[in-house]
């Protein structure tokens, strides 16, 4: 039992170390892509916590991503917060938003939950457009380089950006790893597998699901805040339905309810689009065909298939 435990931690530490090593060897173009993938993978990990581990299919995570991003951005430009404080402010806002949305949306389940979360996210997106004077609407706003200094570290610098992205990625990776292996995480899996049984074992199913949405929404909000801060731009696109669908695709591709799946899925899809667009303008068609093939022949996603065939111990 103990040895298996160590193996799990070592694997995930190794993944983080490999990404750190890549920092020193990657050419600038791929270095930039990987930094972006790490931040988006945080969104995917947040999504996976609700979808993969708890079985809550949300189509509204753009709301949490956008809430974190705008709380951070408006915190800096509107309230004059320092970047570090603005990120904390974004986390607090994400907790509140996910608690409110969760307590309303979780009165439904299944298809209704999808629709309700989608509606909330659309309402959030419209709110951003409606209050265009504050949010700058569709156009969005840039966070000036002068306001992207944390303790003297310039986040506009690509090296710093990569390392900060890696630190945040690692924090979320190990936090979710710890959480899914805790009794809280195991109860979520029980609820996913058999909700009625979990209730009749004494679990307060609603409270657990709400907890899962809050964790998931807060991680997604952190991803939004980090994305806006590291890449210096806040815009309504990031709160649009696209950013609810993308994390779902990344997680499905990489492997739902695996810890590394969200990162692998995000990386895979980003490069899939990047590489196919070099050869053809119909790159979305290529991406689409490969996605269909994967869903046909690797239904558990990439990491999910590895887990199923070779490494059942993968968390």
């Amino acid at each position: 039992m103990r040895a298996g435990e160590n193996r799990v931690w070592l694997l995930h530490i190794a993944v983080v170390l490999v990404i750190l090593a890549l920092h020193f060897v990657l050419p600038p173009y791929h270095h930039g892509i990987l930094a972006r993938v790490m931040v988006l993978a945080i969104l995917a990990m947040g999504y996976n916590f609700a979808f993969g581990y708890t079985g809550l299919l949300s189509l509204g995570h753009a709301l949490f991503f956008g809430a974190g991003m705008y709380a951070m951005g408006l915190g800096i430009t509107g309230l004059g917060l320092s970047p570090g404080i603005a990120v904390l402010f974004a986390i607090v806002c994400s907790v509140l938003v996910s608690a409110i949305i969760g307590s309303l949306a979780l009165r439904t389940a299944g298809v209704s939950l999808m629709i309700v979360t989608l509606m909330f996210a659309q309402a959030g997106w419209y709110l951003i457009l409606y209050f265009g004077e504050i949010t700058r609407g569709d156009e969005g706003f840039v966070i000036p380089q002068a306001q992207r200094l944390v303790a003297g570290i310039d986040l506009a610098d690509s090296n710093n950006r990569y390392l900060i992205a890696l630190i945040l990625f690692a924090i979320v990776l190990f936090t979710t790893l710890k959480l899914v292996r805790s009794s809280f995480g195991k109860a979520l899996v029980a609820i996913r597998e058999n909700e009625e049984r979990a209730k009749m074992l004494g679990y307060n199913v609603f409270a657990y699901k709400l907890g899962a949405i809050i964790v998931s929404g807060t991680i997604s909000g952190l991803a939004g805040a980090a994305y806006g801060l590291l890449f210096g731009y806040v815009g309504a696109t990031f709160a649009s339905v696209q950013y609810s669908i993308l994390p779902l695709l990344w997680v499905l591709l990489g492997g739902a309810s695996t810890i590394l799946g969200p990162f692998v899925g995000t990386l895979f899809m980003t490069y899939l689009i990047d590489i196919s667009s070099e050869f053809t303008e119909a790159y979305l068609l290529v991406a689409g065909v490969i996605l269909v093939l994967l869903t046909l022949f690797a239904r558990q996603g990439i990491v999910g298939e590895v887990k199923k065939r070779f490494a059942p111990w993968l968390p």
Binding site: A187, N194, M200, N204
Partner: protein
Amino acid sequence: MAAVNLLETKNLTKQFGGLTAVNGVSFELPAGQVRALIGPNGAGKSTLVGLLCGRIEATAGDVFFEGHKVTHIPAHKRIGMGMAYTFQITSIFGKLSLHENVALAARPHHKGGAGDLDQAVFGALGDVGLQDRAEELASDLSYGHQRLLEIAMGIVQKPKLLILDEPTQGLADVEVEQFNALIKRLSETSTILLIEHNMNVVMETADFITVLNFGEVLAEGTPQEVRANKLVQDAYLGAG
């Protein structure tokens, strides 16, 4: 003063649309007893226990557990108060190991460390003879063994009241004998409410029997009294 009756209902009623599944049942279960709940198919047995443990909301009447009114308390809290319920239709976590199935049942009631939890889990699996298969997936078990896993998930909660909904359905004869012995052992620490079709199990294990028919209590008494009861004989013979 401690409540003499662990469980009590007063005029408990459940209507599904026009159908009255449970009709004004007043029922008392003293602590320490093994009580069997029997009756023909459709007599309302499963609905009654659903009302007791909170899976089903009562239309009228009340449920008391250890003297407290629990009629409107949600199921998960009643489980927390010391009720345990095993499902009639096997309801386990198929994709999880036997160990994790039982651990999930234990955790809400467990205050100690991981080592204690492990011990409790293996203890409960041992009680039903599945301790050697702890790491197997629950879905790989035969139907009879899944029934036993259900029972282990009830036992590990160390409940004050253990409600078993047709626990021996699908068990082989040898397993039924083991089950009878297990119930006798468990009855030393828990009060047991047993819904059962197998009359051998009922006569072997129950201290007292309640007979339901058409949602109402038809008769109550010791196994000998119930066996001799003319009404009960008619109900069973009449309903097939």
